[in-house]
């Protein structure tokens, strides 16, 4: 098994090396790597968003284990940061645009399309914050962790704007389809998620007892409100939390 893994790794590495060498003019290499890694980072961010939404909506429950979806969601978030690091870091070696570390880390510091480059910088910081929160969940608490997770939507929108308006490959067919497909998939799952949440609210609203009825219910078998609150909270919580360390 180890041999097979090594073979796969070597094959992939040779592909990467081949592509690198095919970019004959090595002085242009950082520029090509930056553009390609930016696109891969965005594709991974899209994948991570989709997997996260699949966990929260439970839409993939019949297809694959939720723990697997969550595990890949978390792992993809780390890969997003890795490729974002390559995307930004390779620009340091570009002799043409001459980005400095400050340009890459501080929003609005870069001279090249300041607003849209800043969107990318902000997206990177937000993605880093959300990813770091996976390991701080116990410390910050489940509720705060979930609230912090909403920043991933802002990171996605910022990354999308950065890619479309600061990227130099937006007009190319494959890249345009990447953006369109990403928007369609994430928007559809978000709409589904919002529909689920509204449905849960609606059900809770129609079943909410009157004050007199609630008092009676409390006396008989505990609070229905509490029960609704619990079930509603359950439906909004990250379902895989109990399956994670």
């Amino acid at each position: 098994m180890k041999l097979a893994r090594t073979a796969v790794a070597v094959t992939l590495a040779s592909f990467a090396l081949g592509a690198v060498l095919s970019a004959a003019d090595l002085s242009q290499l950082p520029w090509y790597v930056s553009r390609a890694s930016g696109l891969v980072a965005f594709a991974l961010l899209t994948g991570s968003m989709i997997l996260g939404l699949l966990v929260s909506t439970k839409a993939a429950d019949g297809v694959m284990p939720r723990a697997l979806v969550f595990d890949l969601h978390q792992f993809m978030s780390v890969l997003v940061l890795t490729f974002t690091g390559v995307h930004a870091g390779s620009l340091l070696f570009d002799t043409y645009l001459r980005f400095s570390p400050v340009d890459l880390l501080v929003p609005f510091a870069a001279p090249y399309r300041p607003a849209w480059t800043a969107a990318g910088v902000i997206a990177g910081w937000l993605a880093g914050l959300v990813t770091a929160s996976f390991w701080a969940r116990k410390r910050i608490g489940q509720r705060n962790w979930r609230r912090l997770h909403y920043a991933s939507f802002a990171a996605y929108v910022a990354a999308l704007g950065h890619g479309i308006f600061a990227g130099t490959d937006t007009g190319r067919p494959l890249v345009a389809w990447l953006y369109l497909g990403s928007i369609a998939a994430v928007a559809a799952l978000m709409a589904y998620r919002i529909g689920q949440a509204r449905g849960a609210h609606g059900r809770a609203g129609t079943r909410r007892p009157t004050a007199r009825g609630a008092a009676g219910a409390r006396g008989r078998s505990g609070s229905l409100d509490r029960e609704h609150g619990r079930s509603q909270q359950h439906s909004l919580q990250h379902p895989a939390r109990s399956e994670q360390p």
């Binding site: 893994r5 796969v8 790794a9 992939l12 590495a13 592909f15 990467a16 081949g18 592509a19 690198v20 095919s22 970019a23 003019d25 242009q28 520029w31 090509y32 790597v33 553009r35 390609a36 890694s37 696109l39 891969v40 594709a43 991974l44 994948g47 723990a67 697997l68 595990d71 890949l72 978390q74 792992f75 993809m76 780390v78 890969l79 490729f83 390559v86 043409y96 645009l97 001459r98 001279p111 090249y112 399309r113 996976f134 390991w135 600061a166 130099t168 490959d169 190319r172 494959l174 360390p245």
Partner: protein
Amino acid sequence: MAANYPRARALVAGGALLALAIGVDYVHSGGQDAAVSGDPGSTASASTNSPAGAQATQAPAASRARTSRAS
């Protein structure tokens, strides 16, 4: 981070690396296409002697200029 599904993770990581390799080739070939097709931006190669600050603010033109240089 405990790897609960190492094979799935390896698959995703390998796919991402492969995508990077394909992406480098894709953007590289795109540069050649732009230069060959007579993209107006590729004429910006004439401005490659401009100051670095001017280059940096001329984003698409600069990128096309560099691709035309590459070809």
